[in-house]
């Protein structure tokens, strides 16, 4: 849900509760759901991109050096990348907050 939904009064709802502005799930901070976060040891990384292919959230991008890294705004901490990484770059670490 977007911030505007939380502020809308009943008088501001559109006909039939129709949305005229396209929404996007990119607004959802699914990183909120995470209890574990990926931690990286790039010394072992061969930049194969398997973690990116397997990420169900599609939140793995590349940094300026070409290393694959999850965007924690969306990363749900599922750990699939850690499990699939062929060289053991990724370990899942408990969130402390």
């Amino acid at each position: 849900m977007s911030t505007s939904d939380e502020e809308l009064t009943w008088r501001e709802i559109e006909v039939g509760a129709i949305f005229t502005v396209p929404g996007t799930t990119a607004d959802y901070q699914t990183g909120d759901w995470r209890s574990q976060a990926p931690s990286y040891n790039f010394d072992r990384c061969i930049k194969c991109g398997i973690c990116q292919l397997y990420c169900p959230e599609g939140c793995v991008g590349q940094d300026e050096d070409g290393y694959f890294i999850a965007d924690l705004y969306w990363c749900k901490g599922c750990g699939i990348c850690a499990r699939e990484c062929p060289t053991g770059v990724i370990t899942m670490v408990e969130e402390t907050e």
Partner: protein
């Protein structure tokens, strides 16, 4: 203006839908609605009505197809009855909540079990809270007129709600009556073009029927209720406009010899005509009895009801449905609820009669009035007072 013809009410309703130039008819045949959709199929097949006729596999699909059609801005019509109305139940809420102005005639029929195809108001009461505008008629002319009005009301930009026109199964659907069918040109003048404000359009994408989590759902529902309540003004406006154009006027609470009456019968639907005869007889006997016929079931006409009963001491409300284990008749309990917080109000006695197509004769209404007066005076009475049920 128009032509008066002897015609079966169902056929006349189909002709009204043709006059309204519906774009899409999606329907599944069910007794006693069948003749309406059969004749519409003939009108489409013969080219007399330029519309898409979608012969769906169930009433659930009939209503769903009508919603899809209405969402594109098409003028959509369907009709059903009894079990069919039950089968489309969940989609009825979707129609009103998404504000898609479908028009539907319901040929009121008793609900199973036991299976019964005859008329009563069990089906109407089961869809009471679906958020549709609901109009009740008592004869074929009223059915034709209100189908025409229904398109104007539902499609009005201030309303945009689906509209049901309730007609009693068999007592109306299968009788031949003299009915004035208006001229096409007059109907064209009366019903404005359907201009749904946010139709499905690839050039202007919108999201319909979206997810509504707790953060927004109550606001959406509050708005929906306000829109339905405020639709009454548009309904009144269109009935007035209809009267001016065609000479027949409709009101939320119709009165028959009700002025100054101490006792008022209250009815809905075709039995109102029998009740009028009963009122005539009782008036001839010097009794102060009149009749109120509820025309507008939703939005409920609170003000008009209060106005109509202000001089009465007793209301005798006749239901053609039971609220099992509850306050007996749903119509009566609505009337009671509407009056409860008033300082001055009549006593209200409810009766359940005419279930499953059982006739209520003229004497039946007289008997209910006498029994109602007796209970009002001496007390007693049962929660479920019935007329005509063998003990």
């Amino acid at each position: 203006m128009g032509r008066k013809v002897g015609i079966e009410v169902s056929i006349a309703i189909s002709e009204a839908v043709k006059l309204a130039n519906a774009d899409v008819v999606a329907a599944y045949p069910i007794t006693p609605q069948t003749h309406i959709v059969e004749h519409l199929a003939e009108l489409v097949a013969s080219g007399e009505l330029d519309a898409e006729y979608i012969p769906v596999e169930s009433e659930h699909s009939a209503m769903s197809a009508c919603l899809g059609a209405a969402a594109t801005g098409a003028r959509a019509f369907t009709a059903t009855a009894g079990q069919g109305l039950e089968l489309m139940h969940e989609v009825l809420y979707v129609a009103s909540s998404m504000q898609l102005p479908v028009v539907m005639v319901v040929a009121n029929r008793a609900l199973s079990a036991p299976i019964n195809v005859w008329g009563d108001h069990s089906d109407m009461m089961a869809v009471r809270d679906t958020g549709w505008v609901q109009i009740v008629v008592e004869n074929g002319q009223e059915a034709v007129d209100n189908v025409l009005c229904a398109f104007c009301i539902g499609e009005d930009k201030r309303v945009l709600l689906p509209v049901m026109v309730h007609i009693d199964g068999f007592h109306l659907t299968h009788v031949v009556e003299p009915i004035v069918l208006p001229d096409q040109a007059d109907v064209d003048d009366f019903i404005p073009p359907n201009e749904y404000p946010l139709p499905l359009d690839p050039a202007r994408p919108v999201t319909m029927g979206s997810f509504g989590p707790p953060v927004i759902y109550p606001e959406i529902k509050k708005r929906q209720d306000v829109v339905l309540r405020e639709s009454k003004e548009v309904i009144l406006e269109n009935w007035q406009r209809f009267g001016e154009a065609f000479g027949r006027y409709y009101h939320p609470v119709e009165q028959y010899r009700a002025e100054g009456a101490k006792t008022l019968l209250m009815t809905m639907g075709s039995t109102s005509e029998t009740a009028m005869d009963a009122v005539d007889r009782m008036r001839d006997q010097g009794m102060s009895v009149g009749l109120l016929k509820l025309r507008l079931w939703r939005p409920f006409p609170f003000e008009e009801l209060l106005q109509a009963v202000r001089d009465a001491d007793l209301l005798v409300v006749v239901d053609r449905a039971i609220s099992f284990g509850g306050p007996a008749g749903p119509f009566c309990s609505e009337v009671k609820a509407a009056l409860y917080n008033q300082d001055k109000k009549p006593k209200v006695m409810g009766f359940v009669a005419g279930l499953g197509g059982r006739d209520i004769p003229v004497g039946g209404f007289e008997a209910m009035v006498h029994r109602g007066m007796e209970i009002a005076e001496k007390g007693g009475g049962e929660i479920l007072e019935t007329y005509g049920v063998r003990e």
